[in-house]
Symmetry: C2
Subunit: 274 residues, 2 copies
């Protein structure tokens, strides 16, 4: 649900257009409390934010751990430039342009790793997690947050809305990603050699009694994310313009009076046994 | 996910067979903390439990509100007999055999209403909620808890497991129920004239790091519930025995090493404006 860490030739990559950047900002603010609660790093600890993108989560990391020292890393120079423009000068964060599959740091350089909406864009998330473990000191922690589009449950239910979401999932899969990765965090982390893996769902539920969440999540995050891939979906032959638009219209209905929307993020914390 | 309040001629009704009764007991114990947290009625308050079935939730209600006075109501005499056998003699609960569409109580007789896994079995949940409002005093509260099978998200993902769950949903729909009712609680309660409606998800997430939940929920509650309708599914022509069994086997796999299972209940509290 954010800037891809690794741009790919062709293929779907969200997060690079201007409205997308605004959407990612909205999303980060609405979800910050939900996703970041429980994440606070001690003073002086060295934290690597992997796949920081435009810095949407970086701001919240800094707010939650004002005395930690962050290195925020991304492969996309354009995203890093935006992140820097948005947050710098900030004494607690250094920006690093690098490939997360080849982090330019010595073994055990960090006390903590943080990844939010990164694995969903990777064809080899297990390899990424295993490689990153090298730069985490023994006993250090990794935090991983991912969504899972299979968790979207809404009223009124709509086969067309579900089909539109399905198009987004297939597009992301065709680009080598996985919009259903949230449910896999425990086996991915355990398989990559982390221990004491603890995964907990972080659920968003919005109805008319919570207009802030309807606006911030149902409309401006989830529905906007699906709507944003319309041209790519049609170009890929996954749907017709009309059918996709009906699905998006039905998603918008879930944000109106009597509608409900539910989505689950998964947050994992684990330890590097060394 | 429990005893139907209203047995129907023909049609699928779960909760009446002996293994089902055990399953419902397992489920209630595993989920008690998740579902009942936040539900505590003051000393002396009059609470109507609607659709108490075999009393699986009644025990937890009594534990959470030891000085409240409960009337636990169900249409099924056999279920009430089991509930009484399980819990009586208990000074705080009276058992009442009645139709929830025609509760035999004067207007405003209760301070609180409680319904858990009841609306999912009703063809007219809105009418039930509106009718029950009559016996709730102005300013009194209603608490409604329901699951939503559309929220089931698991790893390894499996089209056959999803199809088996889909059979259960269709069977319940054919019997006049709705296994996807959780997402509808806010509009149902608001439409029935309740106010200050507050719905919150209560999510179960189980993986190998939580063997109690894998046993208590993934295996002995959710998968057992799906497996229990096998004969009815086949009789109704919704699936073949072999295909359904593959789906159930895949659900069991989600409870093994590397598997994950996620499900969301919805808990609503609202007020009768009078």
């Amino acid at each position: 649900m954010r800037t891809a860490n690794t741009p790919r030739p062709g293929g779907y990559v969200h997060g690079y257009a201007e409205p997308e950047t605004r959407r990612l900002g909205d999303q980060a603010n609405t979800l910050a409390a939900l996703l970041h609660t429980g994440t606070a790093y001690p003073a002086g600890s060295r934290v690597l934010e992997v796949g920081c993108g435009v810095g949407a989560q970086t701001a919240h990391l800094l707010a939650g751990s004002p005395a930690a020292r962050f290195v925020s890393m991304d492969l996309a120079a354009a995203s890093l430039a935006r992140a820097r423009a948005h947050l710098s000068p900030h004494p607690s964060v250094s920006w690093c342009r690098a490939d997360l599959f080849d982090p330019p740091f010595a073994d055990g350089s960090f006390d903590h790793l943080f990844l939010c909406f990164v694995l969903e864009h990777l064809a080899h998330p297990a390899r990424a997690l295993a490689g990153l473990r090298r730069v985490l000191r023994p006993g250090g922690s990794i935090t991983v947050i991912e969504g899972d589009h299979g968790s979207a449950v809404f009223h009124p239910d709509s086969a067309q809305a579900r089909a539109a979401i399905g198009c987004q999932i297939r597009l992301q899969a065709a680009a080598g990603g996985n919009a259903l990765v949230g449910r896999q965090l425990q086996p991915l982390l355990a398989g990559a050699g982390y221990r004491e893996v603890r995964v907990r769902p972080r659920t968003v539920y919005a109805d008319q009694t919570r207009p802030d969440l309807v606006d911030g999540f149902t409309r401006n995050t989830f529905t906007a994310m699906v709507a944003a891939v319309r041209d790519d979906v049609v170009a890929a032959g996954l749907s017709t313009r009309a059918a996709f638009d009906r699905g998006v219209a039905d998603l918008h209905r879930t944000g109106e009076s009597g509608g409900t929307f539910h989505y689950t993020f998964f947050k994992a914390v684990a330890v590097n046994p060394g």
